[in-house]
C-alpha cells in the first residue's frame, strides 16, 4: 500500500482537479449529441487534456501529500474496557455465547427420515388407492394434478388410469416435499426435545392436514373434490411417525459451532485461534 507512515504525518494521495475535468469533458462530449457539435469538441479536448494531466499525476509514481498527524490530545482515545457485565444463559458449556441449541441432529438424519417417511406415506396412500378405488394410479394422479391442468379437471375414470407424465411429476413432487419435511423434522425435533414422538408423529401431521384443508381447493382442485380426509391424515401420520422415529434414533452430533463457515466449507485455510475447535 502506498500510504507511508512517517513521524510527522501520513502520505495520502494528493488532491487533484483532473478527475473532475475529465468527467466534465466526458459529459460535454456526450452533451454535444443533444446540443451542438461544438460542445462535443470542447468536451473531447477537455477530456484529453484532463486525461493527460491525470496520467502525469500517477505515472511513473502517484502524487502524494504529507498529511500531518493531528495533535495527540485530539486523537481518538484508546478504547477502554467497559464495566457493563455480560449475562449468561443457563445452558452451554462455554458460558454465555454460543450457537443454540448445542446438540442437533445431523442433516443426514433429516434426509434419511424424509426418505423413510416418504415411503411410509406412499404406502399408506397406495393402500387407500388399491382398496378404495382398485387402482394404484389413483393417488399418483391426484398428487400430479397439483401442477397438471389436464388432471385437475379430469374425472375418476381418467384418474385411475396410468399416465407416465403424471407418475414422473408425482414422484418428483413427493420426493421434494418428503425430503424437505424430513429436514424440517430433523431441525425442529430438538426444539421440542421433550416429546418428539407426539409432536412429530401426531401434532405436526394434523396441523399440516388442517392447514392444507383450507387452501386445497386452489392448490389441488382434483384432490379437494375427492379427498378422503381420514386417509389423508393417516398417510401424514405415517410420515410423521416413521420420519420422527428414524431421526430420533440417530445420534445427535456435536456441531462445529465455533468454526467459521468458511473453514468448515474449506474456503479459508486459516486455522482457528485458540478457543476454537
Amino acid at each position: 500500500m502506498s500510504n507511508e507512515e512517517h513521524e510527522e504525518g501520513i502520505e495520502l494521495p494528493a488532491p487533484t482537479l483532473w478527475p473532475l475535468l475529465a468527467a466534465f469533458g466526458m459529459t460535454l462530449g456526450f452533451a454535444g449529441l443533444v446540443t451542438h457539435p461544438f460542445v462535443s469538441v470542447t468536451g473531447i479536448v477537455c477530456f484529453f487534456v484532463a486525461g493527460f494531466g491525470w496520467w502525469r499525476e500517477v505515472l511513473p509514481h502517484q502524487h502524494e501529500e504529507l498529511v500531518p498527524l493531528v495533535p495527540v490530545e485530539l486523537r481518538a482515545k484508546p478504547v477502554q474496557p467497559v464495566t457493563a457485565s455480560v449475562e449468561t444463559l443457563d445452558l452451554g458449556e462455554e458460558g454465555h455465547r454460543m450457537r443454540l441449541p448445542t446438540h442437533v441432529f445431523p442433516l443426514s438424519a433429516g434426509i434419511r427420515g424424509g426418505i423413510v417417511g416418504g415411503i411410509a406415506m406412499a404406502i399408506t396412500a397406495e393402500i387407500f388407492g388399491f382398496f378404495v378405488f382398485d387402482s394404484l394410479w389413483y393417488p399418483v394422479n391426484l398428487l400430479a394434478a397439483t401442477a397438471m391442468p389436464s388432471l385437475a379437471s379430469a374425472d375418476t375414470s381418467v384418474l385411475i388410469r396410468f399416465d407416465a407424465a403424471a407418475l414422473g411429476l408425482a414422484i418428483l413432487i413427493h420426493a421434494i416435499l418428503s425430503l424437505l419435511m424430513g429436514l424440517l423434522y430433523a431441525v425442529i425435533l430438538p426444539i421440542f426435545a421433550k416429546s418428539p414422538a407426539i409432536f412429530g408423529g401426531i401434532i405436526a401431521p394434523l396441523l399440516w392436514t388442517g392447514l392444507l384443508s383450507t387452501g386445497l381447493g386452489v392448490i389441488n382442485p382434483a384432490l379437494a373434490d375427492r379427498i378422503a380426509w381420514e386417509w389423508f391424515a393417516a398417510s401424514q401420520i405415517a410420515f410423521g411417525l416413521t420420519a420422527g422415529f428414524v431421526i430420533a434414533r440417530m445420534e445427535r452430533i456435536e456441531t462445529l459451532q465455533s468454526a467459521p463457515l468458511a473453514v468448515r466449507a474449506g474456503l479459508e485455510m486459516k486455522t482457528p485461534s485458540k478457543g476454537d475447535q
Binding site: 500500500m1 500510504n3 507511508e4 501520513i10 502520505e11 495520502l12 494521495p13 494528493a14 488532491p15 487533484t16 482537479l17 478527475p19 473532475l20 475529465a22 468527467a23 466526458m26 459529459t27 456526450f30 452533451a31 449529441l33 443533444v34 446540443t35 451542438h36 491525470w54 499525476e57 500517477v58 509514481h61 502524487h63 502524494e64 501529500e65 504529507l66 498529511v67 498527524l69 493531528v70 485530539l74 486523537r75 481518538a76 482515545k77 478504547v79 477502554q80 474496557p81 467497559v82 455480560v86 462455554e94 458460558g95 454465555h96 455465547r97 454460543m98 465455533s258 467459521p260 463457515l261 468458511a262 474456503l267 479459508e268 486459516k270 482457528p272 485461534s273 485458540k274 478457543g275 476454537d276
Partner: protein, 558 residues
C-alpha cells in the same frame, strides 16, 4: 514517494478559509470521506427534487379529471421522477455510504483507486445535471424544454425516432449512461478495496456484514449495469446512426429491449436494496446489544440473493406473451428469492430476540423497515404468481409494491444510516426530538399514500395515467393517497431542519456515541484525513467488543 510542497491541507473548519478555497478543496478532493459526503448530499438534493415532482403528480391525481398539469407534463414528471429516484438518489446515496464506511470498517486509509473514485462521483453529478438540463433545453440548445417522457424503463419502440422525435429520449439515455460509467468505476473500486485492502486479521469471515454486502453489491453492479449501457448504446445507434436494433419496421423486436432492460433492471432493484440491508445489518446488532444472529447464513443469503437476482428478470414481462414454459421458470426463480430474503428478515428478528433493544432513531427506522419490507416482499410474491400478475401488472398495485420496497426498504434505511453515522461524520448528534417528528409524520404519510395504492390497483387502475374519470371507484382512494404526500413532505422538512439545526447548534458527539463494535467507532468523530494513525489489527468481527470486554473477547469463540 514525492512530497509536494505546501501540501499541508488546512483543517476543514478554519474560519479564515475563503469560499473559493473551500470549493477548491471539495472539487479536488480524492478523500473517500469527502466524496462519500458529496455523494450523499447530492443524492439527497436529487431526492427533494424528485419528491417535488412526485408531489406534482399527486396533486394532478388527487381529483378525477384534474387539470393541474397536462398529459405531456405529467408523463415527463413521471419519467423523470422514477429515473431520478433510481439512478440519482438510490445509487449515489448508497455509494456515498459505501465510500464513507468501507475503508473505515476494514481499517484502510482510502479506497483502492482514490482518483477513480473522484472521477466516478463527478460523472454521476454531471450525468444528473445533464439529465435535468432536459427541462431547459430539449431540442437543441435553444429549443423548448423537453424532458424525457418514455417511462423509466423506456420501452421500445416508444423510444424509436418515429415515436420519440426531438432529443428528450436522448437525455434519458445520456444522463443515465454517463452516471453509469461512474457507477461502474465506483463498484470496481469497492470490490478492489474490499479484496485488497483489509487490515491485518480481517479475513472474509471477520468482515462486518456491511462490507460483505457492499462486496456483493459491487459485483452485482459490475455485471448488471453494463448490459444497460450496452442497450443504451444500441438505442443511441438507432437514433443517431440509423441502425435497427429496436426498429420494429425493419424486423427489430420490441421485446428484445425489454429483456435487455430487465436483465439490468431487476438486479438493479437488488443493487438498491442490498446496501439498505447492509445498514440494517449494522444497526440491529448494536442497538439490540447482541452480535448479528447467524452471520454465516446472512452472508450466504446475500450471495444467494445476488446470484438468483440475475435470473429472474422476465417477471417484469409476464404479460408480453412469453411461452408458458418461460413464465413458469421465472415464476419459480422469483419465488425462490423469497427464501434468502426471508432468512435475512428472520435473522434480524433473531438478533433482536433476547436483546436489550435501545430504540434510538436509527433503530426506530430499522424496526419500521422490517414491518414495511415484509409487506413489500409479500406483495412481490403475489406479483410473482404469474396469473395474478396478469391482473396486477402495470397497475397501481405494482406502484404500491415498489414504493414499499423503495421507501420502506431503501429510504427508511437511508434515514437510519444517516441518524447512525451522522455523529461520526460531523461530530454532532442529530436531535432526537426532531427525529421523532420526522419519523412518525413520515411513516404515517408513507403508509397513507402507498398503503392505499394497493386498492386502486386491485380496482383496476393502471399506472402512468395522467388523469382518470370519476365513478370508477378510485376517487376517494386517490384523494387519500395524495393527502398522505402532505405528511411525507412535512416529514422530510422536519428531517432537513434536524440536519441544519443540529449542524449549527447540535450536541457534540463522542467518538463512539452508540457503543458500537466496528472499527469506524475507534477513530475520532469526524475521522482525520488518514482515518487511523496506525492501521488496526483485528481478531474478530467485533474488534471493539474485544477491547471493551478484554475478559471475554469474541475471538475466543469465532
Amino acid at each position: 514517494m514525492t512530497v509536494i510542497d505546501g501540501g499541508l491541507v488546512q483543517p476543514a473548519d478554519s474560519p479564515k478559509q475563503s469560499t473559493w478555497l473551500w470549493l477548491h478543496e471539495w472539487a479536488t478532493t480524492v478523500d473517500h470521506k469527502k466524496l462519500g459526503l458529496m455523494y450523499i448530499s447530492s443524492g439527497l438534493l436529487f431526492f427533494v427534487i424528485a419528491g417535488l415532482e412526485a408531489s406534482m403528480m399527486r396533486i394532478q391525481l388527487a381529483l378525477p379529471n384534474n387539470d393541474f398539469v397536462g398529459p405531456e407534463t405529467f408523463n415527463r414528471l413521471m419519467t423523470v421522477h422514477g429515473t431520478t429516484m433510481v439512478f440519482f438518489v438510490g445509487m449515489p446515496v448508497f455509494f456515498g455510504f459505501g465510500n464513507y464506511l468501507v475503508p473505515l470498517m476494514i481499517g484502510a486509509r482510502d479506497l483502492a483507486f482514490p482518483r477513480l473514485n473522484a472521477f466516478g462521483f463527478w460523472l454521476f453529478l454531471f450525468g444528473g445535471l445533464l439529465f435535468y438540463f432536459s427541462w431547459l433545453g430539449g431540442d437543441g440548445l435553444y429549443g423548448m424544454g423537453t424532458a424525457p417522457d418514455v417511462g423509466w424503463f423506456a420501452y421500445s419502440p416508444l423510444t424509436a425516432p418515429a415515436f420519440a422525435p426531438g432529443n428528450s429520449t436522448d437525455y434519458w439515455i445520456l444522463g443515465i449512461m454517463i452516471a453509469g460509467f461512474g457507477s461502474t468505476g465506483t463498484a470496481l473500486n469497492f470490490v478492489a478495496t474490499i479484496l485488497c485492502m483489509r487490515c491485518p486479521g480481517m479475513t472474509f469471515m471477520k468482515m462486518p456484514l456491511f462490507v460483505w454486502l457492499m462486496l456483493v453489491n459491487g459485483f452485482l453492479v459490475l455485471v448488471a449495469l453494463t448490459p444497460l449501457t450496452a442497450a443504451q448504446v444500441m438505442l443511441l445507434f438507432d437514433r443517431f446512426l440509423g441502425s435497427h436494433f429496436f426498429d420494429t419496421q425493419a424486423g427489430g423486436d420490441a421485446v428484445l429491449w425489454q429483456h435487455f432492460f430487465w436483465v439490468f433492471g431487476h438486479p438493479e432493484v437488488y443493487i438498491l436494496i442490498i446496501p439498505a440491508f447492509a445498514i440494517a445489518s449494522e444497526i440491529t446488532p448494536v442497538f439490540s446489544r447482541k452480535p448479528i444472529f447467524g452471520y454465516e447464513i446472512m452472508v450466504a443469503a446475500t450471495v444467494g440473493i445476488g446470484f438468483i437476482s440475475l435470473g429472474v428478470w422476465a417477471h417484469h414481462m409476464f404479460t408480453v406473451g412469453l411461452s408458458s414454459g418461460v413464465n413458469t421458470f421465472f415464476a419459480a426463480s422469483t419465488m425462490a428469492i423469497a427464501v434468502p430474503t426471508g432468512i435475512k428478515i428472520f435473522n434480524w428478528l433473531g438478533t433482536m430476540w433476547g436483546g436489550r433493544i435501545r430504540f434510538e432513531m436509527p433503530m426506530l427506522w430499522v424496526t419500521a423497515f422490517l414491518f414495511e419490507f415484509v409487506i413489500a416482499g409479500l406483495t412481490g410474491v403475489m406479483l410473482a404468481v404469474v396469473p395474478f400478475d396478469w391482473q396486477l401488472s402495470d397497475s397501481y398495485f405494482v406502484v404500491a409494491h415498489f414504493h414499499f420496497v423503495l421507501i420502506g426498504g431503501l429510504l427508511y434505511n437511508i434515514f437510519a444510516g444517516i441518524y447512525y453515522w451522522f455523529p461520526k461524520a460531523t461530530g454532532k448528534m442529530l436531535s432526537k426530538k426532531w427525529g421523532h417528528w420526522h419519523f412518525w409524520v413520515f411513516v404515517f404519510g408513507f403508509n397513507l399514500t402507498f398503503g392505499t395504492m394497493h386498492f386502486q390497483g386491485l380496482l383496476g387502475m393502471p399506472r402512468r395515467i395522467y388523469t382518470f374519470d370519476p365513478g370508477r371507484g378510485w376517487d376517494m382512494l386517490n384523494l387519500i393517497t395524495s393527502i398522505g404526500v402532505i405528511f411525507q413532505v412535512l416529514g422530510v422538512l422536519f428531517f432537513v431542519w434536524n440536519v441544519v439545526s443540529s449542524l449549527a447548534w447540535g450536541e457534540d458527539a463522542d467518538d463512539d456515541p452508540w457503543d458500537g463494535w466496528t472499527l469506524e467507532w475507534s477513530t475520532t468523530s469526524p475521522p482525520p484525513a488518514y482515518n487511523f494513525e496506525t492501521i488496526p489489527t483485528v481478531r474478530s468481527r467485533r474488534p471493539l467488543w474485544d477491547l471493551k470486554h478484554p475478559e471475554d473477547p469474541d475471538w475466543h469463540h469465532e
